[in-house]
Amino acid sequence: NDKEGSSEGEKEPVSSDKPYVAIVSKGFQHQFWQAVKQGAEKAADEFDVKITFEGPETEAQVDKQIEMLRAVLDKKPAAIGFAALDSKASIPLLDEAKEKKIPIVAFDSGVESEIPVATASTDNTAAAALAADKMAEFIGEKGEIALVVHDQTSLTGKGRRDGFKNQIESKYPNIKIVDIQYGEGDPLKSTDLAKAIMQAHPNLKGIFGSNEGSAIGVVNAVQEMNKVGKIVVVGFDSGKQQIDAIKSGLMAGAVTQNPVGIGYETVKAAVAAIKGESVEKTIDTGFYWYDKDNIDTDEIKAAIYE
């Protein structure tokens, strides 16, 4: 605290004179976050800033993320990009950042606070609702469906689950959600549990996989159970396997956010904030439904990653 004065960036630990933008994400190993990282790196190149990108191993590790944010604060970045696993838990550190005059750009699911100068996010709930609509359309608005969700407690997991569920329950009374199981986004575990769901519910008409790992698991399960064509699979996010599955008809389609765009917009907004330019408070990076028909369009190509 005693070195308040150094926040102009003279004593940057990062050796170059480029402004330093620290990004603390919700994850880092998984494809989605790697795509966000790609976007961020692209913007960093473009705007000539230095970035670091880190995130905890699972979306349950609220405390690990807070430790990362704390360590980042001590590195005195010019701006911070932050995707909060739990925004309330990070309030004290956000306050500290504000005190140190480090602008914060929230991304992914946003932060329930006035502190971030901008938020680059999409609405998980609305995106999942779109997936629900599509699912309903494919199965003829009636029958049994199930959900394979990647996480029971994280904002993303809950948002997608509830968005999907609420949409079905409110709009499609003839569709019944018979099971919701959680597979940690691990494709192997998701495969096994999707198989068990199909086993328990022979009349199942569709399964929604709430992220890449879950969706792949569902696709594998359908193949291993020889139910290709009998069960409609709707996915979320992208990645080579989902894209292939959609192209080959194993999967009806998926909703994708634009992770590369999220990363890009976050850094872009951060750079603007550093320069003192005004930034839009909310940047909607959008979400898209993609399937066999539109997968090769430019709009979708820009939003999906392999």
């Binding site: 190993q29 494709p187 192997l188 068990a196 086993q199 328990a200 159970m225 080579k240």
Partner: protein, 332 residues
């Protein structure tokens, strides 16, 4: 984790009347598993279907193979925390060889297995030559393998989509007619091999001896360091095989996977009656332990029990199964 001699003596006292045959013992070991299977068969009509049974076996294969390797290590009185991430590293290496370098599938398979064996050997070296406790050495290997898997794959999955034959390794079926996936067959074949190694070879004999009393074994002129390294390498090779199967089943090498699998593997071993203090254990026990875990998980899923309750139930059933096993052996 200490051998409880006093209890063993007490236990032996009870044996007085009518020593049961070894076969009966073996059969009884299945009891928890059988009870579970019967219970779920009655609770849900979908449980006993062929496809579900194959599903259970398939989901046991990967963890089961890890557990086979871990059994050897645990019998030495050691532990291997690295199996989860080394498995991942092995599948990434397989991916790199087959997909990125476009070499024949067999090279990739061998490469994956060797990667596992090499990691095992390195753990063994650290444990025997540097005298690092197994927990620490394999914890370090867990982290190193995890990091390397991400570095090598550039944190992106490697897809085998262009190598359709590769998927056949786990999901094809070499036995015509019956639709049992190869992964299951490989698991059981490896189980038999492991059982033979443990009971019929000097490796197995020394493994048990080292676990019972390392010092006495050393003073008998046995090259304990050599055998320990061999055992860790062997366990690593099993891990490598698990990695290849995992990649084949998922049709991709997933670099972020694997952590947490070590606990599941160790759990299967310990539920199977192998003692963490070393010196005793059986392969059949490990296989049963692994099956108990996957029958349980599958059964509860088929019953559509909410997931949070599933974990609670699994916890209780584990206690129960192990307690039944203890009672059985007490009586046996």
């Amino acid at each position: 984790m200490k051998a409880d001699t006093i209890d063993q003596i007490t236990v032996t006292k009870k044996k007085n009347k009518g020593i049961p045959s070894n076969t009966l013992q073996q059969v009884l070991a299945f009891s928890s598993l059988v009870v579970l299977v019967i219970f779920f068969s009655f609770a849900s009509s979908s449980f006993m279907q062929w496809s579900n049974i194959v599903g259970i076996l398939l989901s046991t294969a990967v963890i089961g193979i890890l557990a086979l390797g871990a059994t050897f290590v645990i019998i030495t009185g050691g532990i291997d925390l690295s199996v989860g991430t080394v498995m991942t590293l092995s599948s990434v290496i397989t991916g790199i060889i087959i997909v990125n370098s476009d070499l024949p599938i067999i090279v990739g398979v061998v490469g994956g297995i060797l990667t596992g064996a090499l990691c095992g050997l390195l753990c063994g070296l650290a444990i025997t030559k540097l005298k690092i406790p197994p927990f620490v050495a394999t914890l370090a290997m867990m982290m190193i393998a995890k990091g390397l898997a991400l570095v090598i794959s550039k944190a992106a999955p490697i897809y085998f989509t262009d190598k359709p034959m590769f998927t056949k390794i786990a999901l094809g079926s070499i036995i015509p007619g019956i639709s049992i996936p190869n992964a299951v067959i490989i698991f059981f074949v490896l189980g038999i091999i492991a059982a033979i190694i443990l009971s019929k070879t000097i490796l197995g004999r020394f493994n048990l001896a080292i676990g019972s009393n390392e010092d006495a074994t050393k003073l008998s002129g046995v090259n304990v360091d050599y055998w320990k390294m061999t055992i860790y390498t062997l366990a690593g090779a099993f891990t490598g095989i698990a990695g290849v199967l995992m990649a084949s089943r998922l049709n991709s090498a997933q670099p972020a996977l694997g952590q947490g699998y070590e606990l599941e593997a160790i759990a299967a071993v310990v539920i199977g009656g192998t003692s963490l203090s070393g010196g005793k254990g059986t392969i059949i026990g490990t296989i049963i332990g692994a099956l108990i875990m996957s029958v349980l998980t599958n059964g509860l899923r088929v019953l559509s029990i909410p997931q949070e309750w599933q974990t609670v139930v699994v916890g209780f059933v584990i206690i129960l199964a192990v307690y039944m096993d203890i009672l059985r052996r007490g009586k046996g």
